[in-house]
C-alpha cells in the first residue's frame, strides 16, 4: 500500500462518512457543516486526480458560495425547525431501499465494464498547457462556446428568477410570514 493509496482511503472514508452524516444528522446546521466537510474531501480527491483547477473551483464555488448560501437559508427558516419533529419521512425505508438497490446495481454494472481494470492513469503531458487549453476551448466556436454562453444566460436566469421569487413584493407578504 503506497502513501497515495493511504491518503485516498483516508480522504474517501472521511468524504463518505461526512456524506452519511449529512443525511443522518437531525440538526440541519450540523448537516450543512458535514456537507462542507464532504465537499472538502472531494476537493482533496480532485487533487489526487491531478485536477488542481477543479479542486480549487470546488472549494471556491461549493464551500465558499453554495454552502454559505445554504447555511444562510437554514438560519432564515430556522424558526419552524425548533419544534423537534422527526426529520425523516414515514417511508424512509423506501428511500434507503432504492438507494441500496441503486448502489448494488451500480456495483454490478461497474463489474461488467472492462475499462475500470485500469489502475495506473496515463501521464498528463503538461498541466499548464491543459489549463490554457481549457480557457481557449470555452470560447472556441468549434468547441464549447455554446455551453459557455448558455451557462452565462442560465446564471442570469437563476439570478433574476431567485430575486423575483425571494424578494417580497409587498409588505403584506412579509406580515403574513411573521404571524
Amino acid at each position: 500500500m503506497t502513501v497515495t493509496q493511504l491518503v485516498f482511503l483516508l480522504t474517501g472514508g472521511v468524504t463518505l462518512g461526512a456524506a452519511l452524516m449529512v443525511v443522518l444528522s437531525p440538526r440541519l446546521v450540523h448537516a450543512a457543516l458535514w456537507l462542507i466537510l464532504s465537499l472538502a474531501g472531494t476537493a482533496v480527491l480532485f487533487v489526487l486526480l491531478e485536477a488542481g483547477f477543479l479542486a480549487v473551483v470546488q472549494v471556491a464555488i461549493y464551500i465558499d458560495a453554495i454552502a454559505i448560501l445554504i447555511i444562510i437559508v437554514i438560519m432564515l427558516t430556522r424558526r419552524v425547525m425548533i419544534r423537534g419533529e422527526t426529520q425523516i419521512t414515514r417511508n424512509w425505508w423506501l428511500g434507503a431501499l432504492s438507494a441500496l438497490i441503486l448502489f448494488g446495481g451500480l456495483l454490478i454494472l461497474l463489474d461488467m465494464v472492462p475499462i475500470i481494470a485500469i489502475d495506473t492513469p496515463p501521464p498528463i503531458a503538461d498541466a499548464d498547457q491543459l489549463l490554457e487549453d481549457l480557457g481557449r476551448s470555452l470560447v472556441d466556436v468549434d468547441r464549447f462556446i455554446l455551453p459557455f454562453e448558455v451557462a452565462s444566460i442560465m446564471l442570469l436566469a437563476a439570478l433574476i428568477g431567485s430575486i423575483m421569487i425571494a424578494w417580497p413584493l409587498t409588505t403584506r407578504a412579509e406580515g403574513e410570514g411573521d404571524q
Partner: protein, 404 residues
C-alpha cells in the same frame, strides 16, 4: 560561496536533503519531512510575525493620534504583545450555555487556517515560496473565503442573538466585497496569462501591473480591506460603539485567535497586493541575488501595510447603507468595466513597450475620471434631495410658528 549568494534557498534545501540522505532515509520520506518542516516554519513564522505586527500597528496608530503608544515593556514597548499574550494565556476560557461545542471550537481554528494557508502561494523571493501551483489566484480566493465560514460558525454556534446578527452582517459584507475582489483578480491573470503567482511576478519584470491597471489595483486594495473588516469598514464590530459582533462569546485565546487572524489577514492582503500589482520581489539585482528580492518584497509589503494602517487612522467609519451601496453601485460595476476595458485594450494594442502601457494607463485614467464625474453628479443630486426637503420643512415650520 557564489551559490550561497545566487541561490541561498536552493543551497539550504540541498544541505538539508543531503543531511537527511546521510541518515539513510528514503527519498519519499525526505521530501515529506522537508515539506512538513517548511510548513511548520512558515506557519510559526507568520504567527510570530503577528506579534510584531500588532505592536507596529499600535505604535503607528498612536503616532497618528498624537500618542506614544506602547512604551513600557521592552525597548520601544516591542514586547507589549508578548505581555498581552501571556495575560491572555492565563484567562479563563468561558463557554456560554447552550453553545454548539463542535462549531464553537472549530471557528477560531478555521479563521487562523484560512489566513496561514494564503501564505503557501505567495512568492517571497525568487525560488522561495511554499507551493508553485498553476491556479494560485483562484486558490487565494477560495482559501481566503474560508474565513467567512469561520465567522458564520462563530455566529451560529454561540447561542447569542448579537453574535448571530453580527455574524450575518459580517458575512453579508464579506460576500459582497468578495465579488469585486474576484473580478479585480482576473485582471492580473489576464495580463500575465497565468494564474500562478510565480508567473505573475515574473511577468512584472519590466513594468508593474499597478501602472497598467491602476483601477483594478485600487479595487483589489479597497475590497480586500473591506473583506478583512478593517477600520473604514469595521462597522459590524465597532469596538467603541457596539457589543463586539460575532466573537462576543469568545474569551481568552479563543478570542485571541480571531484577533491574530484579523491582524495577519491585514498584512497578508498587503503581501498579496505587492505580489499581484507591485511586482512582488522584483527590483534591481533581485534576480541575481534572491536575498535582495526578499528584502524588496519585505519593503514593499511593509509600505502597503503602512498605507492600510494609515487608512485606519485617517478615515471615519462608514454607515452600513453606504458600505453596501459603495460596493454594489460603485466598486462592482467599476470592476466589471475595468475588466472589459483591459481585455479589449490589451488585444487591440499590438505594439509592445511604452505605447501599450500608455494606452492602458490612459484608458484606466479615463475610467477613473468618468467615475469621479458620475460620483460628483450623484452627490449633487443627493445634496439637492437632502437640502430641499430640509429647507422646505424649516420654512413650513417657520410659517406655522409665525401663524400662531
Amino acid at each position: 560561496m557564489d551559490q550561497i549568494l545566487s541561490d541561498p534557498f536552493g543551497w539550504f534545501n540541498h544541505l538539508l536533503h543531503s543531511l537527511l540522505e546521510g541518515w539513510g532515509l528514503s527519498p519519499g520520506f525526505i521530501s515529506f519531512a522537508l515539506n512538513l518542516l517548511g510548513a511548520f516554519v512558515m506557519g510559526l513564522g507568520v504567527l510570530f510575525l503577528t506579534l510584531f505586527l500588532i505592536w507596529a500597528e499600535r505604535k503607528i496608530i498612536a503616532r497618528i493620534q498624537d500618542r506614544l503608544g506602547p512604551n513600557r515593556v521592552g525597548p520601544f514597548g516591542i514586547l507589549q504583545t508578548v505581555a498581552d499574550l501571556v495575560k491572555l494565556v492565563t484567562k479563563e476560557l468561558i463557554v456560554p450555555v447552550g453553545a454548539d461545542l463542535g462549531p464553537y471550537n472549530l471557528a477560531p481554528l478555521l479563521a487562523v487556517m484560512s489566513v496561514v494557508g494564503l501564505w503557501a502561494v505567495i512568492p517571497l523571493a525568487p525560488k522561495l515560496l511554499g507551493a508553485d501551483i498553476n491556479v494560485g489566484v483562484l486558490y487565494v480566493v477560495s482559501i481566503g473565503a474560508i474565513s467567512t465560514l469561520s465567522i458564520m460558525l462563530a455566529g451560529i454556534s454561540s447561542n447569542n442573538k448579537y453574535a448571530l446578527l453580527g455574524a450575518f452582517r459580517t458575512v453579508a459584507q464579506m460576500v459582497s466585497y468578495a465579488v469585486p475582489m474576484v473580478l479585480a483578480l482576473i485582471v492580473p491573470t489576464l495580463l500575465a496569462g497565468s494564474m500562478g503567482m510565480v508567473e505573475i511576478v515574473e511577468e512584472q519584470r519590466s513594468i508593474w501591473f499597478l501602472v497598467i491597471a491602476p483601477v483594478a489595483a485600487l479595487i483589489f486594495f479597497i475590497s480586500s480591506i473591506a473583506e478583512v473588516g478593517r477600520t473604514p469598514f469595521d462597522l459590524l464590530e465597532a469596538e467603541s460603539e457596539l457589543v463586539a459582533g460575532f466573537h462576543i462569546e469568545y474569551s481568552g485565546l479563543r478570542f485571541g485567535m480571531f484577533f491574530v487572524a484579523e491582524f495577519l489577514h491585514a498584512f497578508t492582503i498587503s503581501a498579496l497586493t505587492t505580489t499581484l500589482f507591485l511586482g512582488g520581489w522584483q527590483g534591481p539585482g533581485a534576480a541575481e541575488y534572491p536575498l535582495l528580492g526578499l528584502f524588496y518584497f519585505g519593503i514593499k509589503t511593509a509600505l502597503v501595510y503602512f498605507v492600510v494602517i494609515w487608512v485606519r487612522g485617517s478615515f471615519p467609519r462608514i454607515r452600513i447603507d453606504q458600505m453596501n451601496q459603495l460596493n454594489w453601485k460603485l466598486i462592482t460595476p467599476l470592476a466589471l468595466v475595468s475588466l472589459m476595458v483591459t481585455a479589449v485594450v490589451e488585444k487591440l494594442v499590438v505594439e509592445m513597450g511604452l505605447i501599450r502601457i500608455g494606452v492602458h494607463l490612459g484608458a484606466n485614467l479615463l475610467l477613473l475620471a468618468l467615475t469621479l464625474w458620475a460620483l460628483r453628479a450623484y452627490s449633487r443630486t443627493v445634496r439637492r434631495r437632502v437640502e430641499n426637503p430640509m429647507s422646505g420643512l424649516t420654512q413650513s415650520a417657520h410659517q406655522s410658528l409665525s401663524g400662531e
